[in-house]
Subunit: 143 residues, 2 copies
DNA sequence: ATTAATTCGGATAAATTAATCTTATTAAAC
DNA sequence: GTTTAATAAGATTAATTTATCCGAATTAAT
């Protein structure tokens, strides 16, 4: 099965969109995020922890603690989330898996695929979370 | 780690490019393909078997047998290989993993990502193996 | 202080994907 | 016909990804 983002990355994006759709400076526990987004609680906890390490999300321990966005949604690019969770290897390593593939010694599909990959990278780099918050609100209410 | 194609799919594409770069109607054994492309022999055998089932590759059993392209390289699109090995779900299911995502009820990144995905699909659909054979010859000689 | 609810970190388990092994079948060459 | 070299198919193992579990630390409320 081909895939573009790992499950972790999908969940991370969902969780961030969720937090962005809520009021600032409130704490949302892994439990309620998991429940609302229908993601396994333990798994989303781990992912949120990673995002905390990357300073994208903040957390508060103890009773009534939880998670919140550590940055303004207009400062969080989609690519930042991909980088934090999956890394940026997809954008640099050969699609065909040829270890010898490079600009100077490209694999057969290098240039064609490279264009597309640049487009993806540019899209993910230009789009920030705030572009999506309104849509997110609508979507979450359906879940 | 995000990824675009599975390893299987990468190997399948490599093997097909390999066969396309060779003379027609000669048989190439899994052993020599594996050796030349530096892919585990047993694994590439399995993958070639799948491609045989999809009529993209043909095979001949017994001594001096092996694999060959069952179709003209200009009739084999990249998307055919992806479809045979990984399926086309990447192009239809939600990038965010929202099960409720659809045209009528799109997920927040639906339209932005959708454009990109269409581009990918179009690219893979329009490019056929023969476009790459010359480049492949160069590349294989380096391995 | 005690309790309850939370994050955090490490360990473990389950599921999926990747890779290997084994045996059967096929067909050419001797 | 026997041997040899190949694909085919099923079973098994290994590695990776996904998911869960548990115990410790933290903090608010009682």
């Amino acid at each position: 099965m081909s895939v573009i983002f790992s499950k972790k990355c999908e969940y991370a994006l969902q969780a961030i969109l969720y937090l962005a759709s809520k009021d600032e400076k409130e704490y949302f526990s892994a439990r309620e995020i998991a429940k609302d987004l229908k993601i396994p609680k333990e798994f989303i906890s781990k992912i949120l922890q990673s995002l905390v390490n990357f300073k994208i999300v903040g957390s508060k321990k103890g009773k009534n603690g939880g998670f919140y966005l550590a940055k303004n949604p207009n400062k969080i690019r989609l690519i930042d989330i991909v980088e934090a969770i999956d890394g940026l290897d997809v954008f640099t390593t050969c699609v065909l898996g040829f270890p010898e593939c490079s600009y100077d010694s490209p694999c057969p599909v290098h240039s064609e695929w490279g264009k597309l990959r640049s487009l993806a990278y540019d899209m993910l780099s230009s789009q920030t979370i705030d572009h999506f918050t309104e849509k997110t609100l609508k979507k979450i209410n359906q879940l």
